[in-house]
Symmetry: C2
Subunit: 420 residues, 2 copies
């Protein structure tokens, strides 16, 4: 524990923790990879939005504030993921954005029959791809590399499938279960050589690891803002399209906010040729506006500093797991090489589900610890460097050792919560 | 003015006005048909959502509150629009929902080549339909009845086009410019006879006029929640699919929230057969939750009472317009028959744009009046019975008479605001 306290004392990002709503220390939150914490600035912003912008200024706020929101927020996301501001759109959900982009990619490469993905990708992304094939492109096939129980993907396996017949390769840069992280430059390079369009889901990467879309010549990307970006529950997603592709790719959903002149109310559609063509309906202003303070903090802290702390924390955590949890029957479910690991650490245990419940619902007065659980046996410990301390990680491991060592989990049932 | 005050005194819904955030009487707001006012309950609800649900309960709120939100809110919308609770989905934007439904309709009627609409429909709806034809169904054609300068649609013109070759008829129940309202039962009946699927856009109707989707055997509907439902800027939209059609129609966008078991994270898609199949991504919780208090007020007031007051107010307004504004060069841009009029009243004037600006930005210390303007000459006066008073309407007309009579509009420019 002394070592954890020392590390916290030397942590240059420690000051950010105070800028989140952390009301009490009864909760030890390790699920920032699923829903980020509430920035204090967001509280102020939402209050002003409700009282002043909606309540008082009413419809005038569209001109005064809201029409500029998507562009301003997109520019901040762009700078976090290594893109230009005219390459990012913010709005809608990750799934819908993936639909728009993957549809455009498949239509563009009409002569190529393959889509490549991996089994560690989000199921939600696989569903969209399956749906595109079944409902729009029945002559295409989806090749899924690996098994969903894997920790690593062999990048060579992906590369070997990128050829002149591959339309699209769609991958999560950081995979949601194991935290495996791709070498983005390597995959993008191989995709470029074969003319395959590459699409990255950045949901588990944005705000946690440096992403260089432009420098690696990535074609397409999507991602959510409610994990490491701290944008709030179900906050709008983003998408990225490399500048040169924006005129070439079709967005099949012709929405009025993607019209070149939406407020002329012309009956004839004239799409934007820029990234704005991906706008569809009226933006969900409350949810969208709440995204901005979280982005500002990431930009202020600097993504490289965040990554440095994240790696120090996940190394520290892996060391603790090896020392205290492996002897209790846990296995490490996350790559141990820094360059292939995102910002959460997965540990696996046959009793993972009940251990997770014992952490969340302690019966013995000890502190409530909130990680999350992904079937069948995977406890994810989310490291969110802006508010996670080294002491948090030490305490979580000590508690997990106690829960397994004393078999405290045995008093918990196996009936499923809806989200765990 | 005496008559307006008398009418206000006898108004049984007058008490609802106090339940909206109306901070001062410097603003006379007549744009509830574009962005509804802020219910006071919404202020409380959003505060609790931010502080307690996001800030304190964090990820646990998905189980405790958020997973149930869409179903509960959809059920309330259903009861406002005359549908069953398992026939309505709430989420995404109106345009995206229209895309999902119209795609399903065109795929279903693969042997029919025509889509029928009218030129008074929202341009945004026309864009989605155009896009569907261009990008997915190139052998279909869109027949658009009437001209976008019309006040009325001749319903016979629509009926005459519904035949065995018509896949879909898509109309706004209340049209956004002129406030023309269709006889829903008549169109639905004729659509049924020809086997045409009928789709209603209820954006300008929900919460303002009684809608009987079930009783008129309507097939499909979409609509927004930020106008008469007072859901907040860009609040999530809804869609309706008649129960018997839910298994037959395809939603082409296979999202994980539409999966039969989303939290099993299975790699294989298994869509819901119910209305839930229209769910795509994670709901935008902040924007969605804020919709509920507005719905509760509509339900409490009763849609028939709201309609009764709305008609009394629009009749009163039309009388004032005839008496005071027609002599100043205004024409009435709204049907005068009650059964063909929604809840706003349009007046037209060649100087409409500058008159609208003079109302919004008074230079002479008089009260700011906020209607809205739709090109080329259309000032819309929104009657929102829960907070609009008869005195408001009298004052607005008196001011419009002054602005035209004294040519006050001449000191305003014609440069366009982005949204007016």
């Amino acid at each position: 524990m002394q070592s954890a306290l020392d590390l916290d004392r030397r942590d240059r990002l420690a000051g950010f923790r105070k800028r989140f709503a952390i009301h009490d220390d009864r909760i030890l939150y390790l699920d920032g990879n699923s829903l980020g914490r509430l920035p204090l600035k967001t509280v102020e912003l939402v209050e002003s939005l409700i009282h002043r912008e909606w309540g008082e200024r009413l419809i005038r706020s569209w001109n005064e504030r809201w029409l500029d929101l998507p562009g301003r927020i997109a520019a901040k996301i762009a700078s976090i993921i290594g893109a230009e501001k005219d390459e990012v759109f913010v709005g809608d959900s990750t799934s819908f954005n993936l639909y728009k982009l993957a549809f455009g990619a498949l239509r563009y490469h009409s002569g190529r029959s393959k889509i490549v993905t991996d089994s560690l990708n989000f199921p939600s992304d696989l569903y969209i791809l399956e749906g595109l094939i079944r409902n729009h492109f029945p002559d295409r096939t989806l090749e899924t590399v690996g098994s969903d129980d894997d920790i690593h993907v062999d990048e060579q396996d992906i590369e070997d499938r990128l050829d002149a017949n591959t339309a699209l390769v769609a991958l999560s840069l950081v995979t949601f279960k194991s935290s495996f992280m791709y070498d983005m430059a390597r995959i993008s390079q191989k995709a470029r050589e074969s003319g395959t369009l590459v699409l990255w889901d950045l949901s588990h990467a944005a705000g946690a690891v440096p992403v260089h879309l432009k420098d690696t010549h990535a074609d397409l990307a999507v991602g959510c803002t409610y994990k490491y970006l701290n944008g709030g529950p179900g906050a709008p997603a983003f998408l990225y399209v490399r500048k040169e592709l924006q005129e070439k790719l079709l967005n099949p959903v012709w929405g009025w906010f993607g019209h070149a002149k939406p407020f002329d109310f012309s009956p004839v559609y004239a799409p934007q040729s820029s990234i704005e063509k991906y706008r569809v309906g009226t933006p969900a202003v409350l949810s969208l506006a709440a995204v901005e303070p979280g982005l500002d903090m990431i930009l202020e802290a600097g993504i490289d500093n965040i990554r440095e702390k994240s790696l120090a924390q996940s190394r520290f955590l892996l060391d603790l797991i090896r020392e205290y949890l492996v002897p209790e029957g846990f296995t490490i479910g996350t790559p141990e090489a820094d360059n292939h690991r995102g910002s959460h650490v997965s540990v696996r245990h046959p009793e993972g589900y009940r251990i997770n419940r014992a952490m969340i619902e302690p019966g013995d007065g000890s502190r409530q610890i909130i990680p999350d659980f992904r079937p069948p046996d995977n406890i994810r410990l989310g490291v969110a460097p802006l508010y996670t301390s080294f002491s948090d990680l030490f305490e979580a491991v000590a508690r997990m050792k106690q829960i397994t060592g004393e078999k405290l989990y045995e008093s918990y049932g196996t009936e499923k919560l809806r989200v765990t």
